[in-house]
Each structure stands twice: as structure tokens, then as C-alpha cells.
């Protein structure tokens, strides 16, 4: 057997080790040379509520996820209830037979409205309001129901503590055996997951062995998949990618106040504060680490990062909507005082606390308009894990080169996407340093004697200069002089004009697919992958489509976008928000009006199946706006 392409969700209660299950599956397939893409979905809750990981396993790197599932692995009754709509003909539903008794009414961790909906679906189908009923419905829909008595599988296996504690590893192992992954890879992966905890590894190896044995004895084991050759790769999430890119890009000072889905990035930086060097030739170049400070709030996070930036450290902070709201005033300060600082802005479902652990792209306009007054800032966006790496490097560079705040947008879906990255090119992007003064006497930090608007920066400890949030003169002292005010405003905005001229179009906007295709998708952020896959899927149906993929919103590639859209066929804007913000930005900058939209704001990731069918609805002129609703 070859050419596998599996969509698999594994779900269980939060705190029940679902991350370990998905990690085990990903790592095991990795060892065998396959590629796995995953998205983690969870509630704003620590223990008990439903969480799941949707994985896609292929030989080539997957770029997106798809329903219906090939496998649904339920580690608890809630998973069976919650994913009723994700199964179809051929879906294997693997669950613990002990869960068959569970009643829907007892599933108190399911959101009330969700439970009501499941209840009416079961009633409409005249089925029992319990797991049995749910399984019967799945069966009616063509799924292959595979109940396994979990406790029986582990009977006779000597473990430490209750057997249920191992159900996450058991569920994953059963799945791997049924799919046909060689047992040795599953065993090996435990080492990666549990590190040097020998005892834990030994116990879990027993669980893996028991699972494989059970499957063989019961005729469930799949035909062994062939090994693929693969060079070392990295298993990285969007959060990981941003953290790694920041370190490579010279970040040495990061601040944060905990918030989902941003603070994972800062924890990852903390875990890797001890940098490993390519060469040890120069002491100043190959020593030091990343200082990460957890601050008292986001007001402090942004201002502390700016303080460090002024002093000469490459600095950044990471936050999401609620925290970014608190940072607005200081971003304006970085604008007037020309401070190179990066804010990695992880978008989640708003407004307010909104859907704190779910996806969203509703902060584009906010990022563009943040901060009072008019000042230059840059706004860039990433759409896959590799882009998170390189864009983080670029963001730090832009901040240095143009001495301004750079806002780097990453959506929750991407932050929690795990992907296998085959290589990282350390020679792709140079690490740029800001223009600096050379110990001048009578140093003017904000000299107007500049063509591109950039004045050399001073460094505290070496140069004397002043800064103020007030309008200032060349020295940095407060001024309200009308002429100087005009010159300073113009100087600052010159930088944005120069940035627009200097930065090549491909760093701002990219076109994928044939130029003269019948359909053009416009998007940004994490929809990149699913649109690329949908383009392939449409092509198989004989429909040619392409994608205008936006990466930079300030400065905005107006000319390019305008020219491209004027020649395009049916244009469809695809975003994870309700109001089509990127389309608004296009109209604002070019006057071009987009009228077809595929939008999703339920906080879940967009999948290929729903995108393709929504496209058909638009092309057939059935609808102008399609709202996507997939996802548990």
C-alpha cells in the first residue's frame, strides 16, 4: 500500500493527554518518513471539556485539512457526540466499548447548545440519546464502527496507577496499529515524547505492545506501511516558527503577559534562551542568550520592549487582541520616537474575550489603525509555519531598517498548526542592524538631514540624546514649533514611502496558480494552505483557479493588486472574519471593490471540502456570500 492520505481526529477531555496522543501519532509517522499536518482545537478550560487534534497524514507535505474524516479516535463519549458531523462513508470510528453506556444528558462538559443540537439530530433519526445512538447514526452514515474494550486490552499489563491514565497512549497506539504503522516507530516515538524519563517510557512501551498485540490477535492490524526516506526535519507549530525566527533574526529581548494563543511563543523562547551557535569564532557573536520577561500587564510588555529597543537590544513582544488593545498608546509612541520594535499579534476570535482559544482574523483593521495620531508602522502577515520563521526575521529587520513599530499578524489556527519543516535556510535573510551614529558629539537623534527619513540611532551608554512622546526637535526635546512639526511628520512618513519602494513586491503579495485562471481567491494568513489544496481539487474538476495572497498590508502593494484584480475573472475573498477586512483594505487602497466572499467566523479552521463547495455556490451565482460552518 502506498499513497496514503488520511484525515484523522483524535479527541478527549482537556487535561487527558490528548497532546501526547497526537504527538505520538505525528512522531511515529515522522520516524517512518511521512508528513503530518495538525491543528489543535480546545476550549478555554483546563480540565474536562472537549479538545481534539485534526491531523492529515501524507507522503507529500499536506497543506490543509479535510472532512469527512478517515479516522475518528474517541477517548471519551464527548468526542463521539461532538464529531457526529465529521464522519461519512468509510470513516473508521475507534472508541472504547466502555463508553457505550454514556448518556448524552450526562455529558455535562458539552456546551449546552451543542448538546441540544446533538439531541435533536438523534431524535430526528429516532435514535437513543446516548453513545449507542450516536454510533448508530454514524453507522447509518456509512462509518465503520470499531469498538475496542480498552480495559481488556490492558488486562494483564502491569502499569503504575490506574489503566485509564494510559488511555491516551493506548488510543494512539491502537490507531497506529490499525493504520499499519510499524510498531518500532511507535515505540521509538515514546522516547521523543518523554525524553529521559526512562520509567515512563518503559511503562508506555508496554501499552504500545499491548495495543499492537490486541490488534493482531483480533485481525484489526493494518497491512504494514512502507517506510519513506526522509532527512531530519523539525516538527514545528506556528508559535515555534515565530520563536525560532525571532532568535535567528537577532531577537535578544522579549516581553509578554500571558494570553492564548500568544504566550506559547514566549514560553518557547524561554525554553530556548540558551542559543547554540553555528560558529564560535567571535565571542561577542557567539555568546549571550534571549532575555524573556513576563510583565505585569501588556502596557508594561510593550513599553519595556521599547525601553530595551531604545537601549540597543533587538526587542519584541507577543500578544493577542485583548493585550494588543492595551498596547495602542505605546505603539503610537514608537511611531513618533522611531523605535524599532516588533509586536507579534496572534489573532483569536473576538470581540472582547470572544473565543479565546479559537481562530479569527478580525484584527487586521485594528492592527492597521492602532495608535492615535498619524505615524508610520508596518503590518505583515504569515500563512504557514515556514513563513512564521522567515517573516519573524523580516519583521525585526524592517523595524531596524526603518525604525518603526512592525506588527506581525499570525492567526490562532496557524499558531496551533504543527507541520514538518524539512529545512531552514540560515542564509536566506540577512540580519540587518539599524543605522547607528558613530559616537558623534552634538548628536542629533532626529536629524532632518536625511533623504530616506532614517536618522542614525544612538545607544544609551554611548550617546547622549533625548526622546519624548511630544513632538520634538532634532535633539529630541519637546517642541511645538509649527515648521519643525511639519518637517518631522514628513520625515517619519518618508520612511514608509521608502519602504514601499525598497521592499520587493513578492514580499508583499504573491500569486499562486495560472495568471489567467477563471477564479481568483484573495486571502491572507492561514487560509493559504487550504486554498492551494482547493485550487488542486478544483483543477481536478476542470476548473482553473488562482490565489492572490497578501502578506503586507502597510505599506500596501496597491499597484500590483489593482492591476491584477482588474484582469481577474471571478474574484472571491476568503477570510476568517465576518466583514471581509482584507477586501476593505484593498478597496481603501485601490478603489477596487470585491463582491464575492467566503467567510468563516465560528473560530474553527477552514477545510478543503467546505471551501470547494462554497466556491461552486459562488461560481454558479447561487450566492455572493457564503459563511462556512464546519468544525466541532
Amino acid at each position: 500500500m502506498s499513497n496514503i492520505d488520511l484525515n484523522l481526529s483524535i479527541g478527549g477531555p482537556q487535561g487527558g493527554g490528548i497532546d501526547t496522543s497526537s504527538n505520538l501519532i505525528s512522531r511515529a509517522f515522522a520516524s517512518s518518513g511521512y508528513n503530518v499536518l495538525g491543528v489543535r482545537e480546545f476550549h478555554s478550560n483546563i480540565k474536562g471539556r472537549h479538545s481534539y487534534v485534526h491531523l492529515r497524514i501524507r507522503e507529500e507535505r499536506p497543506r490543509s485539512l479535510k472532512y469527512p474524516l478517515d479516522f475518528l479516535v474517541a477517548l471519551d463519549p464527548d468526542t463521539i457526540f461532538e464529531h457526529l458531523e465529521d464522519v461519512a462513508t468509510g470513516t473508521v470510528v475507534l472508541y472504547d466499548t466502555n463508553d457505550e453506556k454514556a448518556e448524552l444528558a450526562q455529558a455535562r462538559m458539552i456546551m449546552r447548545d451543542t448538546a441540544k443540537r446533538i439531541n435533536s439530530t438523534l431524535q430526528e433519526n429516532k435514535l437513543e440519546l446516548n453513545v449507542k445512538g450516536a454510533l448508530a447514526l454514524m453507522k447509518n452514515r456509512g462509518a465503520k464502527i470499531m469498538g475496542i474494550p480498552f480495559s481488556k486490552v490492558l488486562e494483564g499489563t502491569e502499569l503504575d496507577g490506574p489503566a485509564t491514565r494510559y488511555y491516551n497512549v493506548l488510543g494512539a497506539s491502537l490507531t497506529l496499529s490499525i493504520i499499519g504503522l510499524d510498531q518500532k516507530f511507535t515505540r521509538d516515538s515514546l522516547k521523543h515524547i518523554f525524553g529521559n524519563k526512562e520509567k515512563v517510557i518503559a511503562l508506555n512501551v508496554k501499552v504500545v505492545d499491548a495495543a499492537y498485540k490486541y490488534c493482531v490477535e483480533n485481525g484489526l492490524a493494518g497491512e504494514t506501511l512502507p517506510d519513506m526516506d526522509a532527512a531530519p526535519r523539525m516538527l514545528l507549530t506556528g508559535n515555534d516558527g515565530a520563536a525560532l525566527g525571532k532568535i535567528m533574526g537577532g531577537l535578544r529581548f522579549q516581553t509578554y503577559y500571558p494570553i492564548t494563543p500568544a504566550s506559547d511563543e514566549s514560553s518557547i523562547l524561554e525554553e530556548h534562551e540558551d542559543i547554540k551557535w553555528l560558529s564560535n569564532e567571535n565571542e561577542k557573536l557567539s555568546s549571550g542568550g534571549v532575555t524573556v520577561v513576563q510583565t505585569e500587564d501588556e502596557l508594561s510588555a510593550i513599553t519595556m520592549a521599547e525601553g530595551a529597543a531604545i537601549t540597543g537590544a533587538r526587542s519584541a513582544t507577543a500578544t493577542s487582541g485583548p493585550g494588543f488593545s492595551l498596547m495602542a498608546e505605546a505603539i503610537s509612541f514608537a511611531g513618533i520616537d522611531e523605535i524599532p520594535v516588533v509586536v507579534t499579534f496572534y489573532q483569536r476570535g473576538g470581540p472582547s474575550t470572544g473565543l479565546p482559544t479559537r481562530n479569527g482574523q478580525a484584527d487586521l483593521m485594528f492592527a492597521l489603525n492602532t495608535g492615535h495620531g498619524e505615524f508610520p508602522k508596518m503590518v505583515i502577515s504569515s500563512g504557514d509555519v515556514e513563513e512564521c520563521i522567515y517573516d519573524s526575521m523580516k519583521a525585526l529587520n524592517y523595524a531596524q531598517r526603518y525604525q518603526l513599530p512592525v506588527i506581525h499578524l499570525i492567526d490562532k489556527n496557524l499558531a496551533n498548526t504543527s507541520d514538518f519543516v524539512p529545512e531552514i535556510d540560515t542564509k536566506k535573510i540577512k540580519v540587518e542592524q539599524s543605522l547607528r551614529t558613530e559616537n558623534k558629539t552634538d548628536f542629533k537623534r532626529y536629524t532632518l538631514d536625511t533623504k530616506n527619513g532614517v536618522s542614525p540611532m544612538g545607544i544609551f551608554g554611548k550617546d547622549i540624546f533625548w526622546m519624548t512622546g511630544d513632538e520634538h526637535d532634532e535633539l529630541g526635546h519637546v517642541t511645538e514649533d509649527p515648521i519643525i512639526r511639519d518637517r518631522m511628520m514628513e520625515k517619519r512618513f518618508t520612511k514608509l514611502k521608502v519602504a514601499d519602494e525598497e521592499i520587493p513586491d513578492e514580499d508583499k503579495v504573491q500569486v499562486y496558480g495560472k495568471k489567467d485562471a477563471r477564479i481568483t481567491f484573495i486571502t491572507w494568513g492561514s487560509q493559504k494552505g487550504v486554498i492551494l489544496d482547493s485550487i488542486d481539487a478544483l483543477k481536478a474538476k476542470g476548473i482553473e483557479a488562482n490565489m492572490l495572497y497578501l502578506k503586507m498590508f502597510e505599506p500596501f502593494p496597491s499597484k500590483f493588486v489593482d492591476k491584477f484584480l482588474k484582469k481577474a475573472g471571478t474574484i472571491i475573498d476568503v477570510e476568517s472574519n465576518m466583514t471581509g477586512q482584507a477586501a476593505k483594505v484593498i478597496r481603501m487602497n485601490t478603489g477596487f471593490e470585491v463582491t464575492n466572499f467566503i467567510l468563516k467566523y465560528n473560530g474553527r479552521h477552514i477545510t478543503e471540502d467546505e471551501l470547494v463547495s462554497a466556491t461552486a455556490d459562488i461560481v454558479s451565482k447561487k450566492k455572493k456570500i457564503v459563511v462556512l460552518e464546519n468544525g466541532a
Binding site: 567571535n282 534571549v290 530595551a308 540560515t426 547622549i464
Partner: protein
């Protein structure tokens, strides 16, 4: 020749303002400590007090209202060799910036924090600052103050500041000596400076303070220093003595050092325990690109735990 720490910028404070005395005390302290202009950075928030950095001939940032402490912390952590002095108002630090004030006590970064305590919001025309007592009615108020006051000394102590003192802006010599002690203290130091605002505060005037202040340092028995080896009980007593003194206000107002704890490690030291070469090669001084312009970070080794 000693550096002249006064810049050539014209000071626009009202005549008779207590702020002048703080600049005098501060510049004299820095001169006597033999500091050069590149050893120190001044950081302020917004208010009359916030203008201070412009009047000093050394690097300075006049930041946002309430945010002087986190900006200053960023400066200090990026380059711990710098002496960082915060010069901000009571509205700035104890109202809009109160969260940072408390957090800084917990950090003990190593900042010198000078509070311009005039009990009013000077620059916005005399509204009540958090240091003004309940029921007081100064010139700028339409009715007596409806808020209770915070006590900067006990607030600093409870927040964890390792050096807590009070000065009077019209006793510049005494203030200068306090600033010298504060700047050379390893952890974060806090000086509450009684700073008359003749324009808006007609109650807590220079004369009013003159008639009430007395110096704790004059008392032979007063010893606020906690040394690293000191037993917990003795150290706690120093703290409670400081706290009790901090409550004195109505008849007599103590100035001088309330508390000087040298046993608490600074935040800089705590970071240095984790971040490799932090003191030798701090964030502001690290070179981040090789001569070829590219990163010297090895991604696969640095993120070895993610390699599959």
C-alpha cells in the same frame, strides 16, 4: 572636569515649584558620584515632573503617562551597566502607573525611582493626586477630595522595594545625599520627595512642610539596614520599624532612609542566573549577525528538541 548635568534647555516650571530642588539634588548627587553622562539615563512619565529628563545633560526618555517604570526596566535589563533613574509624578506612578509601581517592587530591578509628591496633578491643572488626603480642598478642586490617600512609603514597603526613603525638595543637600545612597543601592530604590506645588497646592506648602519635617538619620538609634546574613526576626523588625515610621504624618513628617535591605537579589542578578552570559554580553551589546551578515544561530541545534 566634572560633567555638568544640567542641559541648556530652559526650564518652564512655575516659579517656586519644588521640582527645581529635585533637579538640583539629582545633578549634584551625580556629580559627587563622579558619574559621566554615559553612565546614567533618566526616564520620566507625563506631568510637570515628566519634563525632568530634558533639563538633564544626559540621555533621557520622557515617556507615556504612567509608563516610566516599565520603560526604565527595559533600559536597565537591556544594559544592566546603566544607572537608570525614574523621575515621575504621584499621579503618574501611583494612579495610572500604580500596577507598574507594585510590580517593580517585586522585581527589584535596580532602578532609582524618585516620586514627585505634590499631591496634585500639576500639568492638568490641579486635580487630586492619589497622595492627597480625604476631605482636603486645594485650590484646583471644586469640592473637597472624595478619595482616601495612598501612603507612598508603606505602599513601597509592602510592594517589596529594597530601599525606601523620603526627601524634601527644599532641603537639597539632604535630598542629594539620599539620591546618592539610592543610586548606589543594588536593587530598586524609592524616594518619596515632598514637592510643594505653589500653583495648585495651597495646603502642603513649603512652609507647611518646613514646620513638620524631621530627619530620622539624626537619631543615633535609627538603623534601617538589613544585611544579607541577618536572622529573619531581626530583618522583620527593621521592616516593621520602617512601616511604623512610614505611618507618621500628621504632626511630624520623617525624612531620610526608612528601609535599606541589601539581602534581596536584584532582578538583574536573578536573570543572570538563567540567561547565558547575561552580564558579560547583555542584550543591548550582543552582535546578532556574522561578518557575512547572516545569523550565527544554529536552528537545528538550538531547537534540537523539535528535530524528528
Amino acid at each position: 572636569m566634572a560633567h555638568n548635568f544640567r542641559s541648556d534647555v530652559a526650564i518652564d516650571w512655575c516659579p517656586g515649584c519644588g521640582d527645581f530642588g529635585i533637579v538640583t539634588g539629582l545633578t549634584q548627587a551625580l556629580t559627587e558620584l563622579n558619574y559621566g553622562p554615559n553612565d546614567v539615563v533618566a526616564v520620566s512619565g507625563i506631568g510637570c515632573s515628566g519634563k525632568t529628563p530634558h533639563y538633564l545633560n544626559m540621555a533621557g526618555i520622557h515617556t507615556l503617562h504612567g509608563r516610566s517604570i516599565p520603560y526604565a526596566t527595559g533600559v536597565k535589563l537591556a544594559n544592566p551597566r546603566l544607572k537608570v533613574i525614574v523621575t515621575s509624578g504621584d499621579g503618574d506612578m501611583l494612579s495610572i502607573g500604580a500596577g507598574h509601581f507594585v510590580a517593580e517592587g517585586r522585581r527589584n530591578t535596580g532602578l532609582t525611582i524618585i516620586l514627585y509628591d505634590n499631591e496634585v496633578y500639576g500639568l492638568t491643572k490641579g486635580q487630586a493626586a492619589p497622595t492627597m488626603a480625604l476631605g482636603e480642598k486645594t485650590k484646583g478642586l471644586t469640592k473637597p477630595n472624595v478619595f482616601g490617600k495612598v501612603n507612598p512609603i508603606t505602599m513601597a514597603l509592602s510592594s517589596g522595594y529594597s530601599f525606601v526613603a523620603r526627601g524634601f525638595s527644599f532641603d537639597t543637600k539632604h535630598l542629594k545625599d539620599l539620591i546618592k545612597k539610592a543610586v548606589t543601592h543594588e536593587g530598586s530604590s524609592f524616594i518619596d520627595v515632598l514637592q510643594p506645588c505653589p500653583t495648585y497646592n495651597n495646603i502642603n506648602t513649603m512652609e507647611w512642610y518646613r514646620s513638620k519635617v524631621y530627619k530620622m538619620d539624626d537619631e543615633k538609634a535609627w538603623d534601617p539596614v538589613v544585611m544579607p546574613e541577618m536572622p529573619a526576626e531581626a530583618a522583620n523588625e527593621k521592616f516593621s520599624n520602617a512601616y511604623k515610621r512610614g505611618l507618621e504624618w500628621d504632626d511630624k513628617i520623617p525624612i531620610g532612609v526608612f528601609y535599606d535591605n541589601r539581602a534581596i537579589p536584584s532582578f538583574v542578578k536573578r536573570i543572570a542566573e538563567y540567561v547565558p552570559d547575561y552580564l558579560k554580553n547583555p542584550p543591548a551589546e550582543q552582535i546578532v549577525a556574522g561578518t557575512d551578515g547572516y545569523t550565527n544561530v544554529d536552528p537545528f541545534k538550538t531547537f534540537a528538541d523539535r528535530v524528528i
